[in-house]
Subunit: 138 residues, 3 copies
């Protein structure tokens, strides 16, 4: 049994889902473990992680629009120092979560056929986002 | 220290919470580890996992109804090829999440007294759903 | 490679985010592992866990207010035996989740600069809440 740690950098370009499946898969495969658990942590409070549909781009647009409706920028927030998209970004990060742990089987994350791993950017301005990775297995 | 992997199949019958606590517990106990971490991945984008109240059935009905209100079928979605319940199903899966990692203590998942593990079906038509399981421990 | 288990008790005082970052960090550091994965389980169905902004208190107030709007007490719920705040509490726990798994690097949880770990109390009356902890690593 052994462990590995790594990091993925994602340069976002505003609100949206940015797929990291290939990066995670490549890193896991490079560790050459057959079975294990890979855990991801998005190290930010205005971006988050989700496992979602990897085929239809319209799904991702709908998800972003829906998040915009559920946590609108024009609601009254006590915290508004960092602009109207800041507090909605925190709400969206709380709802979708910043951690994921995915079983590794046959040397790769055991995702379903239509599942991809995405970082969700919730701020208007693109950012460099960091995802910490941990793998344990054999 | 060692690992085990497994799978649970859940045949759903439309929207609802389907309890898998007993299946998870039985599988964990069969691995005969005293301490560890059990991780679950629902391998779909229109079903998800949650830890919720295991006693009152009315709670589960209320959760399903509330999800139906928050992600309504009659909203305007760009993605609607697969029917009016498809995009709401993706939203609900994003909100509730498809991964869980639960500490194992004294040979069983360390759930609280009132906690059960549930697969949530978000589509109208029942499906065969797959949950991948990973256990690491000793 | 080895494991450790532990528990954090949080005495809440009504709805709000209660920070447990220091307790988690202290416990992880006491186990003296350089690299690993720490997993938390909130053992309740009306309280939950989130990783959120650790600086501005107004963010936490806004999060609680937003949860109150999205899962209002005056909606019609089938389950209302335990008071008007009970069913909304279950909804909020489902949305935010009761499990977290965080990579440990350099002997500590690899949180981002602005990230803290919080228990969210969703009931009006303060409770003693239990968080089960599991650490695996070396």
């Amino acid at each position: 049994m052994r462990q590995a740690t790594g990091e993925i950098l994602v340069d976002t370009t505003g609100p949206g889902l940015f797929e990291v499946t290939a990066s995670v898969r490549r890193w896991v495969e490079a560790q050459q473990m057959t079975t294990g658990l890979v855990s991801l942590l998005c190290r930010h409070t205005s971006a988050s992680l989700t496992i979602q549909e990897n085929a239809a781009g319209a799904v991702r647009d709908d998800l972003v629009r829906w998040l915009g409706r559920i946590a609108p920028e024009d609601a009254a927030y006590a915290h508004d120092d960092e602009g109207p998209d800041d507090m909605p970004a925190h709400i969206k990060a709380m709802l979708t979560g910043v951690t994921l742990s995915i079983p590794v089987m046959a040397g790769a994350p055991a995702l379903g056929t239509w599942q991809g791993i995405f970082l969700i950017e919730h701020r208007h301005v693109g950012q460099r986002r960091r995802i910490a990775m941990h793998l344990i297995g054999a």
